[in-house]
Symmetry: C2
Subunit: 184 residues, 2 copies
């Protein structure tokens, strides 16, 4: 009965990802040892690593989920919605990303993988930006990728503030970004 | 001869800060143990800690220097100059900042100190922004602090890219920020 087996696998995968997110948030990436991952997930290392071959793969799957979720919010509510969503993220979880900047810098193959995560939702975002350039809702003297990268830079800046526990006043940021990307 | 003594102290202080910057860049904040700091600086722990009471004070003094330098460039060359300066920073050093986001989040007294570093150059920056609002070079429907915080968020976003070793195309970012803060 492959249908039951597939539902079972999906449930297990969900259980592993939810537990891993908790373990990373509580102990950081380095601090999330295999025994701690086992405890937070409630499964043995054998079971966990049959779904995700390494700790990096576990983290990467969570980062892909974050990216896909942010992309969906972007498509539904616009860039302001994403900023508000990020500002409400748990700092403990967001801090895990910063633990990995050094590893991403020194391991180009992981950086390439990481920067290209969730390509489908990203392709839809670029398409949306292009459509809004055609209808003169966004400036078209810069290309869609440049506008996208700028919004990504602003998001990362907000993420830094959230991770450091600094308060962020989102509304002026939304007004300023809107002016930046509006037709000039 | 207090003059000689003062010059000697300034030289020693410089030696300590330069060595500490190297040790932090090479080993990270946690990894920069006292023996490694001694080796990189070329002085004993007694000498080092007579100038800076703790490792945090050493890092803080370096972060103050960075902030003051960026502020000076900002005043002389404008925001674009700061972005170009940051994009050329050594990723190894910039990565040290990210190691500290968790500590800043969980220790409000350090966060307060850190966010208010180099107050003199910051006050001059806010004054400059206000003057440019009065002469209609910058928008005045948001206050100077809000414009300043936005530019800080963009800087932090660039810093994330530099720390992760991702390439940054600065010119479109400068054009977009200029449009954001221009009179609307």
């Amino acid at each position: 009965m492959p249908k039951v087996s597939s539902a079972h696998r999906a449930k297990r995968r969900r259980q592993i990802l939810d537990g891993a997110r908790k373990a990373f948030s509580r102990h950081g990436y380095e601090g999330a040892t295999v025994p701690r991952l086992e405890k937070a997930i409630g499964l043995s290392r054998g079971a966990i690593f049959s779904y995700f071959p390494s700790k990096w793969d576990l983290f990467y799957a969570l980062a892909e989920e974050d990216q896909a979720r942010a992309g969906e919010i972007w498509l539904e509510e616009g860039f302001g919605g994403v900023l508000r969503h990020i500002a409400k993220e748990r700092p403990e979880w967001i801090g895990v990303y910063f633990e990995l900047t050094g590893m991403l810098r020194t391991r180009p193959e992981l950086r390439e993988q990481f920067l290209k995560r969730s390509p489908e939702v990203n392709a839809r975002l670029v398409e949306r930006v292009r459509a809004m350039q055609r209808t003169a809702e966004l400036r078209d003297d810069l290309d869609a990728e440049q506008l996208g990268r700028f919004m990504g830079i602003v998001l990362d800046g907000i993420v830094v503030a959230v991770a450091a526990g600094a308060p962020v006043d989102i509304d002026p940021v939304i007004r300023l970004v809107s002016a930046a990307i509006a037709p000039q």
